[in-house]
């Protein structure tokens, strides 16, 4: 491929690409994101290749692996164009039928369609599925249309036109002005206005400046940046080059965690392709602007998502935060002005340049504009990535898009903002999603993790879980974080084990204050959030654990017991056989009893007891009823009486 040397050449090349592509030729887009690959997308893809070959359709149909569209719950999934037919949970065995039916005969394979669980209705097209229908997929929507390994695919959907526009129709100040006007706020957690950050760097006197992509996504259960970087790497690269132009940088870094191997491959490939096409390097598109981009792989530390720790790690030292009374956009990487933005923030930049700030600000609330991708996980019917306009009520995300709580269970809370975010209770489900709105509710936007919890989740245990994560991930430099959250974890663990004492809540509050006020970086300052927000909304659970040694969610192992109701037990011996600890005493026609001293509280008996009996139950905070007498244990069956 020869370099593209001007905006005109870029448009000519794009037109020639489009003219080679027949929009009516069937195209099978198979999600090749990490989620679908894990559930077998590679095998499905291989099956398509083989089947197309076998049926001699090589010239009539295209098949390609694409980025992740977000509906990970139902992977491997694919979309067949031009009809936009969406098949879910496709197995290699389904492939011959798809090829002969849908591709050749234009018939739908009914059983692979989405079925609405509440109405039983089937959805043929991707856009008819409620999970997608209620989203606003400005960023992630194109993922399924492009092969992330093909720069031509990105160009075909208008890629690098924003870069061309910025370089030839706008001054750096105008680019900056547009981003400022859009009020794009950082998608990585802080929510700092990107335009203001850029402006600070641009105005800093030091001539050498840097732009950096923070792709060190480390929140448990969050994978939106992975999907963007894996699925549409050029969009991030394009945003980064535009940012470099706006602030006057000539060097960019992509700090990506090593645990994202596919993202690392795809972004490296994208950089190589962009260099070949002349979107990177010297004299980009003949504009005299030059920029190079390098990839740095992180070594797996959560704290390196913190801006100063990330920069310290980029410099080749241990990833520890440094005090930041002077912002890193003024004194950052190697002491120079550095604009660090999250993957999703950068991905928004080409859209803002192409479509304008006014287009961007039509979505959102007063203070939070645009769309936001959330990774919706936990006790939710539709697990996956959802992109919604800011300002959407939480309950719409959980019910309309997420499909509610599975198994008829009751919603309890949604945890947002990653490990140092907070839990939002049912009473606040009408809350509009936005940076300030979530912070006011005691949680935060964070990078967009959203973990749904139901009635079986113990909120004290949830706080303990996140504190445990943070204790592990603290860098250990400052006392309030290293020592403070270590003690918080100890106290919370004691409470969940029934060893809570009067005064524990107050001590936790003191430690929280110390961490919030005195910790060095955002990790430590926000570490008490899981405790504080659960205390705020679920104080009664803390008190039940401490005062009554009772776990209201019946979840904390040390505080519960499994018992068999003698009235309901039919002596079917299922639980007795399945119990891995041989803790169930029973036998044919002998009502079963759980021997508490042997029980490991694994819950197997509870799960296997047939629902029509429902004889096993969990109790907490009350004594285990004494076993019934030997005589009363024998069941005399009606049928056997005669």
């Amino acid at each position: 491929m020869a370099r593209i040397n001007s905006p005109e050449e870029l448009e000519q090349f794009r037109q020639s690409l489009l003219s080679q592509r027949d929009p009516n030729k069937p195209l099978i887009s198979i999600c090749a994101g990490a989620g679908c690959l894990a559930s077998g997308a590679n095998e499905v893809m291989a099956a398509f290749k083989a089947e197309i070959e076998k049926q001699g359709l090589n010239a009539e149909v295209d098949a390609k692996g694409t980025g992740c569209p977000g509906f990970c719950e139902r992977g491997p999934l694919l979309v067949i164009y031009p009809e936009e037919i969406c098949y879910l949970q496709v197995k290699p065995e389904d492939v011959p039928e798809i090829v002969s039916q849908t591709i050749k005969e234009k018939k739908i394979v009914d059983r692979l369609l989405y079925v609405n669980p509440s109405t039983g209705e089937k959805a043929t097209r991707e856009s008819d599925i409620p999970f997608y229908k209620n989203q606003e997929r400005n960023l992630i929507g194109v993922n399924i249309k492009i092969d992330p390994k093909s720069i031509d695919d990105y160009l075909a959907i208008g890629g690098y036109s924003a870069l061309s526009k910025a370089l030839f129709q706008m001054s750096p100040e105008e680019v900056l002005g547009e981003v400022k006007k859009s009020n794009l706020r950082g998608r990585g957690g802080g929510g700092f206005p990107a335009g203001r950050k850029w402006e600070g760097s641009r105005n800093a006197p030091e001539p050498i400046k840097y732009v950096i992509v923070n792709a060190d996504e480390g929140d448990p259960g969050a994978f939106m940046d992975r999907a963007l970087l894996e699925g549409n790497p050029h969009s991030i690269l394009e945003g980064l080059i535009i940012g470099a132009y706006a602030i006057g940088a000539q060097e960019g870094y992509i700090y990506v965690r090593q645990e994202y191997p596919l993202a690392v491959i795809n972004i490296n490939l994208a950089i190589k392709q962009a260099e070949e096409y002349g979107f990177l390097g010297k004299n980009i598109l003949g504009s005299n602007f030059e920029c190079k981009v390098l990839v740095h792989q992180g070594a797996g530390a959560f704290v390196c998502g913190e801006s100063t720790a990330l920069m310290t790690a980029l410099e080749g030292r241990a990833g520890e935060p440094r005090p930041k009374y002077i912002r890193s956009n003024i004194v950052g990487l190697w002491g120079r002005p550095s604009v660090l933005n999250n993957v999703e923030t950068w991905a928004n930049v080409p859209l803002i340049i192409n479509k304008g700030a006014d287009w961007f600000t039509q979505y959102g609330t007063e203070s939070s504009k645009g769309t936001k991708i959330f990774s919706l996980v936990g006790k939710i019917t539709n697990t996956g990535l959802v992109e919604v306009p800011m300002g959407i009520p939480l309950k719409d995300i959980i019910y309309k898009i997420g499909g509610g709580i599975p198994g008829g269970k009751k919603f309890k809370a949604v945890q947002t903002g990653g490990p140092s975010g907070g839990c939002i209770p049912e009473s606040l489900l009408n809350l509009e999603v936005g940076f300030d709105e979530l912070t006011k509710a005691g949680s935060m936007m964070g990078s967009g993790g959203m973990i749904v919890m139901d009635e079986e989740n113990c909120m004290v245990d949830v706080a303990r879980y996140f504190l445990n994560f943070l204790t592990d991930e603290s860098c250990g430099k400052c006392v309030p974080c290293r020592e403070g959250i270590r003690q918080m974890l100890k106290i919370l663990t004691n409470i969940t084990q029934g060893k809570g004492r009067e005064g524990d809540i107050e001590l936790l509050e003191t430690l929280s204050e110390t961490a919030i006020e005195a910790a060095l970086c955002a990790l430590g300052k926000s570490a008490p959030n899981p405790f504080l927000s659960t205390l705020k909304y679920f104080r009664e659970e803390y008190e039940a654990h401490i005062k009554e040694k009772r776990c209201p969610a019946l979840s904390c192992k040390e505080l519960i017991a499994y018992v068999i109701d003698p009235e309901k037990c039919q002596a079917c011996m299922i639980c007795q056989r399945k119990c891995p600890a041989q803790a169930i005493d029973g036998g044919k026609n002998r009502i079963h009893i759980v021997e508490q001293e042997k029980c490991t509280k694994c819950g197997t008996c509870f799960e296997v007891c047939p629902p029509r009996f429902g004889a096993v139950r969990k109790i907490s905070g009350e004594p285990v009823p004494p076993p019934i007498s030997e005589e009363a244990r024998t069941i005399v069956r009606e049928s056997k009486k005669k």
Partner: protein, 200 residues
């Protein structure tokens, strides 16, 4: 160099560009407690004991004096109810590791800290990093460093370097606020080089 005027505890103080609040306070004879600070070393900001209240344009916030740059017209308060409460908690957290360290016990007396507030895990080291940074910044030897992170973090001598350098130096010993370093060194020495240790 321009002169920066501001106030600490009601006293007008003068600073030059690049000075921190702590440096200015020390020069003016105002005491702010520290554990990880040493004037020969780069400010580190880890123990957080030097936390103070900084009022700037009507806004009050907490900042650590050892890294906060002196600024025109700010008002610094080195003691307040909140500052004292946080210092007390920090001291109590550290006493769990070094319950008999003299420096900590003195601070505990001043701030009313309870030596037994948290369950003891005597590791002696409070991770101030003075030894690590002194060896790196002043001696430029890197014979002692941190290993691991978070609550598993420890100081450790690098045997290859320590066996050559430490014997005749030991300049980091007196810096250690809990005297843990000497104990660690003697222990490591005894385990790693039993013969030389006995010959001494």
């Amino acid at each position: 160099m321009s002169e920066i005027l501001f106030e600490i505890d009601g006293k007008e103080v003068k600073a030059t560009d690049g000075m921190t609040i702590l440096e200015v306070a020390r020069k003016a004879g105002i005491h702010i407690p520290t554990l990880c600070y040493d004037e020969k070393l780069e400010p580190y900001g880890a123990c957080r004991l030097c936390i103070v209240e900084v009022e700037s344009r009507g806004w009050t916030r907490l900042a650590v004096a050892c890294v906060y740059p002196a600024e025109k017209n700010i008002i610094v308060r080195t003691r307040s109810e909140k500052v004292d409460r946080i210092r007390k908690t920090i001291i109590e957290l550290l006493l769990a590791h070094a319950p008999d360290a003299f420096d900590l016990l003195d601070l505990a007396k001043e701030y009313g800290a309870d030596r037994n507030r948290f369950e003891k895990e005597p590791s002696f080291c409070i991770h101030c990093g003075l030894c690590v940074r002194y060896c790196a910044e002043v001696k430029k030897k890197n014979a002692v460093g941190f290993v691991d992170r978070g609550t598993r973090r420890e100081i450790s001598f690098v045997p290859e370097i320590a066996s050559k350098e430490c014997w005749n130096c030991k300049e980091c010993f007196p810096l250690c606020p809990t005297e843990a370093l000497q104990a660690a060194y003697v222990l490591v020495e005894a385990l790693a080089f039993p013969h030389t240790a006995f010959e001494k």
